[in-house]
Symmetry: C2
Subunit: 316 residues, 2 copies
């Protein structure tokens, strides 16, 4: 099956121009064999921009474009091919008639990252796969091993762990200070205003940003599809603005208790009749990790989501 | 006009796994409202990987896929939309029947970058647009100004300087030490072996890597299209392996003398009968900057390149 596209394009949104001055220039090697050149960081830099790659169909069948927001320490690559080389969710939703907008949040991937400590605060986090192994619920702490045969997983895990190193290649540095979060949120807000109305599918940390942007610009967000999301703290967040936005939350297997998420859902459900949760193991679907879009049943879960989108009258 | 594609996918190539140990864990804020978590960098990281996004046509008309390699301090975004929002060269060559492979070199864009100084040496260069202004031949040194109306350009410049800030958003950090260069070359070499045979179109620093990879794996490179390239030093480089590879060099306007490039071309032309140079101003095309694929005549120059590809019998 093929896809008829109008074209592929990209743009940046949410940048702020910052001028550095008074820093010293350094002699830098640049091209093998050339003498070093004097390089000065003084001048104007772009900071906080978000990168968006847009694929437009000749005949979209969805009413609104689909924005795909990745999680923390990752980039838009999340939505492309799975680590074992199957087609990703970008491809799936293109084939199902959605124009796709795949973004890299500020400071990640093609969105670039600013000098630190001159612009960004402190040093970012580089997460080894050993740490991600348990956080992403592939298996118990310490379960990663260089030798794929020695990797310890949860029973029935659907993540393709033989290809964990291809997944590791997707990891990007993550600033963990509050000003970085504020910059990311600001450019997501600008993005929603510039490129909405849209349906947003957001993963993990991206869910937090998506919920915030939706609550600020509810007219620009036609549905929120939250994959294993981080959510705002219920006590500090007003859910009123979300009351008319269809929300779907999709959760995998082997989850620890998450009071923050439960509290948020309860509060949201008090004001909204259009919130649904696909708790996959409760639906008889076992073995999904935090990276549902990469698990071996990724297409089957995407089909459930597509069905929900259709039922919400978001297809033409 | 539309494009019929089989799909969009991506992969990484050339990664090396590096295990860090003995570094101290830090308390890090991660999600607003959550207590800080202890974050350890100890464990396995991927280093040196190159990112590739592949778009496959249903019916390619070119004999080989087209690899698009960006220049220093930039990413694969080079080949997408122009800063003023016209379609980029990726789109142009897709429409002309080429499967495209757009990459981000190691340490740039979606290829991620490693911790420094623990893995990468020293601190990378963050180039302000003030410095790029003259290096990319938009105008004289000091010609950039925040106010687009006050920007000073070379006469007849074709770069869309009113959108220079969108271009600035594309800038990524650049390591300038030799080990970074070696890593980039190593993953480009792995890429050519894994995804070739292909035609390579390479810009600036990417030209240096492309010439090196082609000379090591000449069977995997069916043509080299070098846009304003950096070239190896003639005296230190053996051109023998390039003798059967068609080479096209495309050069813009307002160039300073470049003895290194002239020497390389002379030496290459001694052994090869299939080297051509499109020196645009010598052909009556004036005003191109270093970023020819973004200049206002980008489609016209792409058409000249496509014509050269056709004449080299690289279309079906």
């Amino acid at each position: 099956m093929s896809v008829h596209i109008k074209g592929i394009s990209s743009f940046f949104v949410g940048e702020e121009l910052v001028t550095l001055e008074g820093l010293s220039a350094e002699l830098r090697y640049s091209i093998p064999g050339n003498p070093p050149r004097l390089s000065s960081p003084n001048g104007t830099h772009a900071v906080g921009q978000l990168y968006v790659q847009k694929v437009e169909l000749v005949q979209p069948r969805a009413k609104f474009p689909l924005m795909m927001w990745h999680g923390g320490g990752l980039s838009g690559v999340t939505w492309e091919t799975t680590p074992d080389g199957r087609t990703g969710w970008q491809d799936f939703f293109l084939r199902h008639g959605h124009n796709t907008l795949v973004s890299d949040a500020s400071e990640r991937g093609r969105a670039s990252w600013p000098m630190y400590p001159e612009i960004a605060e402190a040093k970012p986090e580089h997460r080894p796969i050993d740490v991600a192994w348990h956080m992403f619920r592939f298996g118990p702490p310490g379960g990663y091993h260089r030798d794929p045969k020695k990797r310890i997983t949860f029973d029935g895990l659907l993540f393709p762990i033989a290809f964990a190193d291809q997944f590791l290649c997707q990891f990007v540095a993550r600033w963990t200070d509050r000003s970085s979060d504020d910059r990311a949120q600001k450019s997501y807000d600008a993005y929603v205003q510039a490129a909405g109305p849209a349906v947003i599918i957001a993963h993990s940390q991206g869910g937090y940003y998506a919920i915030n942007s939706a609550s600020r610009y509810p007219d620009a967000v036609k549905a929120l599809i939250l994959i294993e999301p981080v959510v705002p703290i219920a006590e500090e967040f007003s859910v009123e603005q979300l009351r008319s936005i269809p929300v779907l939350m999709v959760l995998g297997d082997n989850k620890p208790a998450n009071e923050r998420r439960s509290n948020f859902l309860s509060k949201l459900m008090e004001v909204s009749a259009c919130v649904e949760v696909f708790d996959l193991p409760a639906m008889g679907i076992y073995g999904n990790s935090h990276m549902i879009m990469m698990d071996r049943n990724s297409d089957a879960v995407a089909a459930l989501i597509q069905d929900w989108i259709r039922k919400k009258d978001l297809m033409q």
